[in-house]
């Protein structure tokens, strides 16, 4: 720990000369870099990460609490305190001043890694450098080593190396660090050239940079054309084809990555929210191709806003033309697996021989929405041993006048089949009911309670009270009647407001951290026992790792994701809102 800390300090504080104006860091990065991370405004991120609330939150993490009693960590803290005293400033200020000019990290082929850091306060660097250099030499002396710091001149710059592997140099207020001497040489050669040939001038990089908003605190550039040649990544992209459900949900995303030559990710920091905005240059996505069913065609088309219900954990909204999707199944998922055929056979029965593609899926509008929510259990009955949240599927129909009754019949046939099969196996079945909620009559089914005593260990089946509701032109399928009622309210509100789709976004997802935490808490016991046999942990280890998971989930207020195609670029935005109180 101490050694690593010293190394880092040495790297950070090799003295800077007089402050001079330097070319942008990326001009000194080779143009074949496959990955480049830039933090042009590190202070925004540092402020967020070192805020009192963030620190308070960190102290709640069980892992951090044990780390605090770890002797090595204490040693590290002592080192930090010593430096703070010597520099006459707090570590937070020091980090801000040492890195405030910007940071760039680049990965190039042949495992070359380059890090550049621009300091704001050259004086602070000098002082830190002197202190650390003394420490390094004392340490070497104590261990009976000679001074191992070596240096050499290259193109008028002094390059340093500790052990012949790493190399670094100081130019002005800029520190350049490379994992191999040849990487440092390349940087120095680029610096010496008059023509601009670094990454900054590279066509793809410039296009990527342009896609990133100017106010971004940082950006990531990835050369996808090169990265996709990595066999594992190529295989992962191919995997999406194997599973019909994955093909449906990740359509447009996998194709975008397959098509793209670069990706840029802009990092935006606002108060308690971290937002990542990614762009890919997948301009050639064919709306008529197999994945076209997921691409909004006209302007103002796209996924509908997510539905919000009480106790909502997650909601997903997709622009997907199910009719086109299933019609292209030979291209999308050529294997005819047992599950798929079983699905078709059942659909054939439920929909009385209607053609699944032309007579069923064609009746739906190009959209799918899912909602996952906490559920309330009947206090008179008790709670199940494992609590599964309620989940619902929401579609809209082209012609509810003709199709409502078809869907209702299909649903009741399905319940009938489930009852028949369960009866054959000597298991209790479902009883169908038709309650009314806010003037909407819907259909639900619940498990017979004939042989069940009130219990906190009810069988898993008591998580399920399936329902179908058909308000307006909506089709709601829900795993519980409770969620069905909430969804009836939600879609009624939506119908009254004349809902607008998200322009050109085909995928929208939201996650509520607090509701997720609640459902995790309700299942702690099940997760702990699962963890014990799956990981070979003791009960205590298992509890700790589940506690950590819950603590981390607690820090998340919400996660929002949107993906779409905008002006021939694929755009994805991920916003993480933290809850650190």
């Amino acid at each position: 720990m101490v050694r690593q800390f010293l190394c880092l300090c040495v790297v950070l504080c090799q003295t800077a000369g007089a402050v001079e104006s330097l070319a942008p860091q990326t001009q000194w990065i080779p143009d074949n870099a496959v990955l480049c991370v830039e933090l042009s405004n590190p202070k925004a991120l540092i402020d967020m990460l070192t805020s009192d609330t963030a620190f308070g939150a960190l102290q709640k993490v069980p892992l951090y609490q044990t780390r605090n009693t770890n002797p090595k960590f204490k040693e590290f803290l002592t080192g930090v305190k010593f430096l703070e005293a010597a520099l006459e400033t707090s570590w937070k200020t020091a980090i801000r001043k040492l890195t405030g000019g910007g940071i760039t990290l680049a990965v190039c082929p042949d495992d070359l890694v380059i890090l550049m850091v621009d300091a704001e306060d050259a004086d602070l660097l000098t002082r830190l450098h002197n202190i650390v250099l003394t420490m390094v030499r004392t340490e070497a002396d104590n261990q009976g080593h000679s001074d191992r710091v070596a240096s050499a001149e290259y193109l008028g710059v002094t390059g340093w190396s500790f052990d012949g592997k790493e190399a670094h140099a100081i130019i002005g207020h800029r520190l350049i660090f490379a994992n191999k001497p040849e990487a440092l040489k390349t940087v120095l050669e680029l610096r010496a050239r008059a023509d601009k040939v670094g990454l900054a001038s590279q066509v793809r990089y410039r296009a990527a940079r342009e896609a990133t908003a100017p106010d971004a605190a940082g950006q990531v550039y990835a050369d996808l054309a090169t990265l996709k040649q990595i066999p594992d990544l190529a295989a992962a992209l191919e995997q999406g084809r194997a599973n019909p459900l994955a093909g449906l949900l990740f359509a447009g995303i996998i194709e975008s990555i397959r098509d793209a030559t670069w990706m840029s990710v802009g990092l935006h920091v606002q108060h308690d929210t971290l937002a990542f905005r990614a762009h890919l240059d997948s301009a050639n996505l064919d709306p008529k191709g197999p994945a076209g069913f997921a691409l909004p065609g006209k302007p103002n088309e796209g996924a509908l806003p997510n539905l919000s219900v009480p106790g909502g954990i997650a909601s997903l909204s997709f622009y997907r033309d199910l009719f086109r999707f299933y019609g292209a199944k030979d291209d999308l998922f050529p294997e005819r697996t047992s599950g798929l055929i079983f699905f078709e056979n059942m659909m054939g029965i439920f929909f009385s021989g209607r053609d699944l593609t032309d007579e069923v899926l064609a009746e739906t509008l190009p959209e799918i929405r899912f909602v996952v929510a906490q559920q309330q259990y009947d206090p008179a009955l008790g709670t199940p041993q494992v609590q599964i949240p309620a989940f619902g599927l929401i579609l809209r129909l082209r012609d509810e006048q003709t199709f409502d009754i078809v869907a209702e019949e299909a649903w009741q046939k399905a319940v009938g089949l489930v009852n028949f099969t369960r009866g054959q196996q000597g298991m209790p079945g479902l009883i169908i009911d038709r309650p009314v909620h806010n003037d909407t009559k819907f259909t639900m089914a619940y498990f017979s309670t004939a042989t069940v005593d009130k219990d906190t260990n009810l069988p898993t089946r008591f998580n399920i009270r399936p329902a179908i509701a058909l308000p307006h032109n909506y089709l709601i399928l829900s795993s519980t009647d409770g969620l069905a009622r909430d969804l009836i309210d939600a879609v009624t509100r939506e119908a009254q407001q004349a809902v607008q789709p998200a322009n050109q976004d085909h995928t929208l997802a939201e996650l509520n951290g607090q509701a997720l935490t609640a459902i995790l808490r309700a299942n702690v016991r099940a997760m702990v026992t699962q963890n014990m046999v799956e990981k070979g942990n003791t009960e205590e280890e298992a509890k700790n790792s589940i506690d950590l998971l819950i603590t981390l989930a607690q820090f998340v207020d919400s996660v929002k994701l949107s993906i779409g195609t905008h002006q021939s670029l694929t755009r994805a935005e991920l916003a993480l809102k933290f809850n650190l109180d």
């Binding site: 199944k329 030979d330 050529p334 294997e335 005819r336 697996t337 047992s338 599950g339 798929l340 055929i341 079983f342 078709e344 056979n345 659909m347 054939g348 029965i349 021989g353 053609d355 699944l356």
Partner: protein, 403 residues
């Protein structure tokens, strides 16, 4: 062969005296041949391909001239012009171009009208019958019994292997033998070579020498499979799971590690992909295309490698399907259906009559060849393994092989 790097001392309880630390003589390893086979009389291989779910034989080998066919299948009948003609009565499904090619080359035979007496309409029961090779309840599958039979001859080889990711099928249930799943060659390759030291004395402890000899053989097996897996097949296999499994089988045959029977399948766990009660036409197309292209690539690969004469591929399905369609553009569970044979030593052509489309049992075709006759043929004629010992009864063989 790596030289031993250590010697174990004091293998018994009482004697503290050093046992012999002779340097290992690789001879005894080399002598214990891997390619042992239960009968000792040939090195032929059987590849069983299960078509799970009940294949519609009528839309596979199509009696296109029979008016009953067209009349019974208003939506499922296949357009005559797209079919691959076999005779003036029969033709392959349009997506079976590769089977048609194999048939013309003499590498494919069609055994018509094969079925099970007491044919069950229940998937599980019918499949169980085909797996047991019996309509009475038995505790073992016939490939399991084949493996047990090999064990009786005191062999520690691997006579049967499962090459598929499906749940372990009942056909492999054995009383004694443990039948491995080798769906990728690396499953049967040592991650790290073993070293079991100098030869243990069989007189002192029979188990010890048994484990050691088997372990030595297993190293050879691992090496051979590893080497065979490295070789890139010249003929490209399609990306279908069945094709990939057949490619693995081709590698294992090439590795020559003594496996006599490989089991693989198309259609998947559960009821199976061939169970087309609704919207049959497109799904069946896709499946037959996969079957035909996969087996086509397998035969071509084996031919290139000069292995085809050692291999017999046999397809089977738990039942055929009803002659009439069911109102959902699908078919119900039937009875008799064709069995395909592929390989290098076939008599070729159509074997047996196509079952009548009018003389039916419960709207299904009647069989004239008991499925166990086909098994018996594969055992007696092809593998040279006593079929009665495996099937428990004597069945007439079918004259379809050129051996």
């Amino acid at each position: 062969m790596t030289m031993t790097r250590r010697s174990f001392l004091k293998t018994t309880l009482e004697t503290s005296a050093m046992m012999s630390c002779m340097p290992m003589v690789p001879d005894w390893l080399v002598r214990s041949s891997l390619a042992q086979d239960p009968s000792g009389n040939n090195d032929r291989v059987l590849v069983l391909v299960q078509l799970t779910g009940g294949n519609d034989g009528l839309n596979t080998v199509v009696p296109y001239e029979d008016p009953v066919y067209a009349n019974s299948r208003p939506t499922l009948r296949l357009p005559v012009s797209d079919l691959h003609k076999i005779s003036d009565q029969l033709a392959f499904h349009p997506r079976m171009a590769a089977f048609s090619r194999l048939y013309k080359d003499g590498h494919l035979s069609i055994l018509q009208g094969v079925g099970c007496p007491d044919s069950s309409e229940d998937h599980a029961v019918a499949l169980r019958h085909w797996h047991q090779a019996d309509t009475e309840d038995r505790q073992t599958g016939w490939l399991g019994r084949l493996a047990d039979h090999a064990r009786l001859n005191h062999q520690t080889g691997v006579p049967v292997a499962l090459v598929s990711a499906i749940k372990r099928p009942f056909i492999l249930t054995a009383q004694q033998a443990i039948i491995p799943r080798i769906d990728t060659p690396d499953k049967m390759t040592l991650v790290r070579p073993t070293d079991t030291g100098p030869k243990r004395d069989a007189q002192t402890n029979g188990f010890l020498s048994l484990v050691q000899e088997t372990s030595a053989q297993s190293r050879i097996m691992s090496d051979r499979i590893h080497q065979a897996a490295q070789i890139q097949a010249g003929d490209a296999y399609p990306s279908f799971a069945l094709a990939q499994n057949l490619q693995t089988i081709a590698k294992l045959i090439r590795a020559d590690v003594g496996v006599r029977v490989f089991f693989t399948e198309l259609g998947g766990d559960g009821f199976g992909g061939f169970d087309n009660h609704a919207n049959q036409i497109g799904n069946h197309c896709a499946l037959l295309h996969q079957l035909s292209e996969s087996v086509g690539a397998f035969v071509a690969d084996l031919k290139t490698q000069g292995l085809l004469d050692r291999v017999l591929v046999m397809t089977f399905s738990e039942f055929g399907r009803t002659v009439n369609e069911n109102g959902r553009r699908g078919t119900g569970h039937g009875a008799a259906a064709p069995v395909f044979l592929a390989g290098g030593k076939l008599k070729g052509g159509l074997i047996g009559q196509h079952p009548s489309l009018t003389d039916l049992q419960k709207n299904s075709l009647k069989h004239h060849t008991d499925f166990r006759q086909v098994y018996a043929t594969a055992l007696d004629t092809w593998l040279g393994i006593d079929s009665q010992a495996v099937l428990g009864q004597q069945f007439d063989t079918v004259d379809c092989l050129n051996v």
